[in-house]
């Protein structure tokens, strides 16, 4: 058992006001593996990802990403995780390139990489149009570029292909899919597809981990949603 796990959560707790959004969640994700998180809405999936992204601090238990403890060493983690969720985190009045340049400056990434990525997702020609003029699928592609701009070791994907047509969803694959080779945490509502790409599974309901590990059956996942 060589390497330390990329992500290690032990009894993680996070509250939101009076509610407990994450109730002593534990899971371990080896480097390069894909963790798929299932659960109905409000189960805490997005909260979990935001904690891993260092946007929220853990309020109990322990959390380690790439060997660094949260929240104490959160600043060491920041440059190594990439978040892609519902919100593309792009300003609508700026062009795709201008948005990506903003993030590139923040992360200290050379601008050449922006052109590379836009090329990869097929938007090189539309990079100088304001984001508000792009379709939802295109916006999400630009957002994916933003998420991997700084070549993070860990990818956090919160239903990245929701509301996308299959072609657009496929366009994201090379960047954030299994092929990228990175450690990934993906939320999913599709038991069959989710299980197909999972190395480790986590099933949340009401903030609690009701399923975890590998070798989880599809019917067990469906139970979560009942």
């Amino acid at each position: 058992m060589g390497e330390a796990p990329a992500i290690e959560l032990d009894g993680l707790v996070r509250r939101y006001g009076e509610r407990t959004a994450l109730d002593r969640v534990s899971v371990s994700v080896p480097a390069g593996a894909t963790l798929v998180v299932f659960g109905p809405n409000g189960a805490g999936k997005s909260t979990l990802l935001r904690v891993l992204a260092t946007l929220l601090r853990p309020q109990g238990g322990s959390a380690h990403v790439l060997g660094k403890a949260l929240p104490g060493e959160a600043w060491k983690v920041r440059g190594h995780v990439g978040l892609l969720g519902h919100d593309p985190l792009l300003h609508r009045d700026l062009t795709a390139r201008e948005n990506l340049r903003f993030h590139a400056r923040l992360h200290g990434v050379a601008f050449a990489r922006i052109d590379e990525l836009l090329e990869q997702v097929g938007l090189a020609l539309r990079g100088d149009e304001p984001v508000r003029e792009l379709s939802r699928g295109m916006v999400q592609r630009v957002a994916a570029c933003r998420a991997v701009l700084h070549e993070p070791e860990v990818l956090l994907l919160d239903e990245p292909t929701a509301n996308l047509d299959p072609a657009a969803a496929d366009a994201l694959e090379p960047l954030v899919g299994r092929a990228s080779g990175r450690t990934r945490v993906v939320t999913s509502h599709d038991p069959a597809r989710g299980l197909a790409e999972a190395d480790v599974v986590l099933g949340l309901r009401g903030g609690r981990a009701e399923l975890s590990g590998d070798g989880v059956s599809e019917s067990a996942v469906r139970e979560l949603y009942r």
Binding site: R15, Y16, G17, E18
Partner: protein, 243 residues
């Protein structure tokens, strides 16, 4: 914890205040110009000093809250501002009465303490609306502390600026309180000041004790009654997180 020594404190407050007022009314001589009404300043100025110290204390509690992230500092800050606001309202009212008695108007711009107080009062009056309008409890407490620190830093600056700005008219009527006052006036003044300080501490402790008790009661109810307790409404008050 806050209920201990409350009775002794209350008695001490009552005694000191009554003594102070008696001294002010009968022992201290009347002011040559303003007559008996000048004596309301024995009420007005100690109230003001106590309120201001309260605001600064709230700022210090807020600093502690941000440093330690412990809920009790937030509660202390909240209660301190609350009591200071009540005192502040009293300052404005007594100041207005005095202005009416001395100059015939219900408000004057010549007394820097009064004017500064109005500004400070207007600022702190936004504390509760600010808290109420932020729903997430942790954020609410944190932002409230930031406000209390900013406002606390503001108070001395405000008094400095207003004092400097008003230097053209009246010599400060009650600046004489700490210099050039007759010894009888001084005694009365200091006793009143002590009384007001005690009153502040007593009220603060009372409110802290009341809030703590209510929260413990709620927590007990919740533990006994399971989830039958009504979901908490949005509120401006700091509350403990359920264990």
């Amino acid at each position: 914890m806050y209920g201990t020594r409350l009775r002794a404190l209350s008695i001490a407050t009552l005694v000191t205040l009554t003594g102070g007022f008696a001294l002010a009314a009968f022992y201290a001589p009347e002011d040559a110009d303003q007559g008996f009404m000048q004596k309301i300043l024995y009420l007005h100025v100690p109230l003001a000093i106590a309120a201001l110290c309260g605001f600064i204390f709230a700022g210090i509690c807020a600093i502690q809250h941000l440093r330690t992230n412990e809920f009790r500092w937030d509660l202390r800050s909240y209660v301190a501002i609350h009591v200071s606001l009540i005192f502040g309202a009293a300052v404005l009212i007594t100041g207005s009465i005095w202005a009416r008695a001395s100059w015939g108007h219900w408000w004057v711009w010549d007394e820097p303490t009064l004017v500064s107080f109005l500004i400070v009062f207007l600022l702190y009056a936004t504390y509760q609306p600010l808290r109420f309008s932020i729903e997430d409890r942790d954020k609410q407490s944190r932002y409230a502390s930031v406000f209390a620190i900013t406002a606390g830093a503001f108070v001395p600056l405000n008094f400095l600026a207003v004092r400097l700005a008003q230097s053209y008219t009246h010599p400060r009527v009650f600046a004489t309180a700490n210099g050039g006052l007759e010894p009888h006036m001084k005694v009365a003044f200091y006793v009143c000041l002590l009384g007001m300080a005690l009153l502040y501490v007593t009220l603060w402790k009372y409110e802290m004790a009341a809030k703590n008790t209510r929260m413990q009661l709620k927590a007990l109810r919740r533990r006994l009654g399971g989830d039958i307790v009504a979901p908490p409404r949005r509120s401006a008050q700091p509350t403990m997180e359920s264990a």
